[in-house]
Amino acid sequence: MRPMLKLDDLRATVGDEDEAKTILTGLSLEVPAGEVHAIMGPNGAGKSTLSYILTGRDGYEVTGGSAELEGEDLLDMDPEERAAKGLFLSFQYPVEIPGVPVMTFVRTAMNAQRKLRGEDEISAPDFIKKSREIGKQLNLTTEMLKRPVNVGFSGGEKKRLEIFQMMMLEPRFAILDETDSGLDIDALRTVANGVNALRGPERAMLVITHYQRLLDHIKPDKVHVLANGKIIKTGGPELALRLEEEGYDGVLGEAA
């Protein structure tokens, strides 16, 4: 089966040319359609960097290798084109957008993606119906969806709002960057239910996390360990359990 996301020997630096710091050192990874892969790794391993490079944030330079989504070169596209191709990032630190209500924001995003794909806009009643249903699943009230994006939201509410946006936009490939941080146990279950609802043969996901606990709720097909800018070990869900028991040092020592 052709992979949905294919990263081959990806190398990247961050910072200005004279002070550029190498952060990806030849990262290779394949995520087939229908699968959920987890990436775990110690602080500073390059986990968040990977999500930013894949989504096209400024400030990073790809110095080698390739990244393809369904056979198309991701690195050649603007961030909004990547989004329209179905790439979604649930941010580790969601950004506040003062003055722009959630509903306006999501509808603008949804229609912008549709326009880039040459599709018709969603009708207002369809949009409202869909947002109510999804909001309900995630315990987000109508009042919250009228507030400016992430402004005055708690850490957990922000993460639920990320998942709300994901469920509204229905991406083909989602990257969840530390979506479990800031969530209590109930919220974690709510979020995981939302994520699991989107699992399907046409979609794939990359779940970046420090801890095993999210993976109790979102069962990965594969677990990768990222350290020093590349994948150094790949295994099944049992690898996450081993990491929890032995720590990164134990597993990394073995790999090295």
């Binding site: 400024d58 909004e80 329209a84 969601p94 950004v95 003055g99 924001f105 603008t108 912008a112 936009l169």
Partner: protein, 414 residues
């Protein structure tokens, strides 16, 4: 005329071609003591220019080389106000509404006295001297005697004219209220509008101003506002600028318990200049001022904010005043000048001010682009949301029209 043109010229130090034309215009108008006083006050400074402290960033003398016909008809449509009583000033005269809302009377005077400090403002004095024409009215007086809902909409619109000068006085009787809307849409090489608003006890005025000229026009909108006991004045303006455009407000809290809100937004494209200048005098105890000005400027555009709160020693006690100015520099080459001033002599007051300028936040832009919103749309949406806060207190009937004007400007240019 008792005063010859030659004698008038001597009143001006070194008059330029535009000032000579203004002298000639003055000489053609009917003689009047008030007019003369105003014109002599104007002659003290002539057209304001950059060597005057209050005008250092907005130079009318330089911008108006000569009073020449605008190359453009009016730049924008006036705000849509289907239910308003419309008063339109053009270069050829004034058009008054057929019927007036209950509680509003219009008076026309050939010789009316300035409220007080209009003559201290150079373009206020000039407008007081030059508004009106032979056989026409000098000042239009709007007297408000009751609480009124139907807005009065004043339109200043030219059609490739040289000059359009108008003067309006508003008298708000005790407990009366007025919704005032103004559209200053250019169409004259030099437009100047003077409005003097006197509010008596418990009076309410909400003034909503829309300004949009073209890049070869000069526009001055000068307001002199006096607040009586427990009166409330709310001003909201949206300015797109012109070659030079100045929205100046001279406001005095004259009796205790009055409340003023002075909000404004500016959006300046390449070649456009918008200036918000205000002086607020807290001349009575326990008066409140809230001021929020927000602007966004593109490369080659200029925004100016000059705000001053003056709080005298004895009468200004328990003043509560806040002044905020926030600017977005959307591109390289955008220029914003800001001069917030608090001059406080009373010791038991709460006065604050804040002044910021910066670019759009790259984190916000990336977040929006990651959701699929193209960069230009993201910039426009963020900018609109930024300035919208300053427009929230506008008349509800035109608030959407103001936002639409801002939105289409941003969609086109950002």
């Amino acid at each position: 005329m008792t005063v010859s043109i030659e004698a008038l010229k001597e009143k001006f130090r070194n008059p330029g071609p535009a000032e000579l034309e203004l002298i000639a215009r003055y000489a053609m108008l009917p003689e009047s003591g008030q007019r003369e006083r105003a014109f002599f006050a104007f002659a003290e400074t002539g057209l304001p220019h950059r060597r005057m402290e209050a005008w250092k960033w907005t130079d009318f003398k330089n911008a108006i080389g000569a009073v020449e016909a605008s190359k453009h008809a009016s730049q924008a449509a006036p705000l849509p106000t289907p239910n308003a009583a419309i008063i339109e000033f053009s270069a050829t005269g004034v058009t008054l509404p057929d019927t007036l809302p209950k509680g509003i009377k219009l008076h026309q005077r050939e010789d009316s006295q300035a409220l007080g400090n209009a003559e201290d403002v150079p373009l206020g004095a000039m407008t007081a001297a030059l508004a009106g024409r032979v056989g026409g009215l000098d000042t239009l007086i709007i007297e408000v005697t009751e609480q009124t809902d139907t807005p009065v909409h004043i339109i200043m619109r030219g059609d490739r004219d040289e000059a359009n000068f108008a003067r309006v006085a508003v008298i708000v009787r005790p407990g009366a209220s007025l919704e005032l809307i103004e559209s200053h849409v250019g169409g004259a090489g030099f437009s100047s509008f003077l409005i003097e608003i006197g509010m008596q006890e418990g009076g309410h005025v909400r003034r909503t101003v829309f300004q949009r000229g073209s890049a070869d026009e000069a526009q001055a909108i000068t307001a002199v506002v006096n607040l009586g006991d427990k009166s409330e004045y709310t001003q909201t303006a949206l300015a797109f600028g012109a070659q030079v455009a100045r929205l100046e407000t001279q406001l005095k809290h004259q009796e205790s318990g009055s409340h003023a809100t002075l909000n404004g937004a500016y959006l300046c494209a390449d070649g456009y200049h918008a200036d918000y200048t205000s002086v607020v005098r807290h001349g009575a105890p326990s008066t409140v001022t809230r001021q929020l000005t927000k602007g966004a400027v593109l490369g080659g555009g200029t925004g100016v904010f000059q705000g001053k709160f003056y709080v005298p020693r004895t009468v200004g006690q328990h003043t509560d005043a806040d002044m905020q100015h926030q600017a977005l520099l959307l591109e390289d080459g955008a220029v914003v000048f800001a001069k917030p001033e608090l001059e406080i002599y009373a010791d038991d007051v709460e006065c604050a001010h804040g002044n910021t300028s910066g670019a759009l936040d790259p984190n916000q832009l990336f977040y929006m682009r990651q959701r699929g919103i193209p960069e230009a749309d993201a910039r426009a949406l963020l900018t609109e949301a930024f300035i919208a806060e300053a427009l929230e207190d506008a008349n509800e009937g035109v608030e959407d029209a103001l936002l639409d004007a801002a939105r289409s400007f941003l969609a086109e240019r950002v």
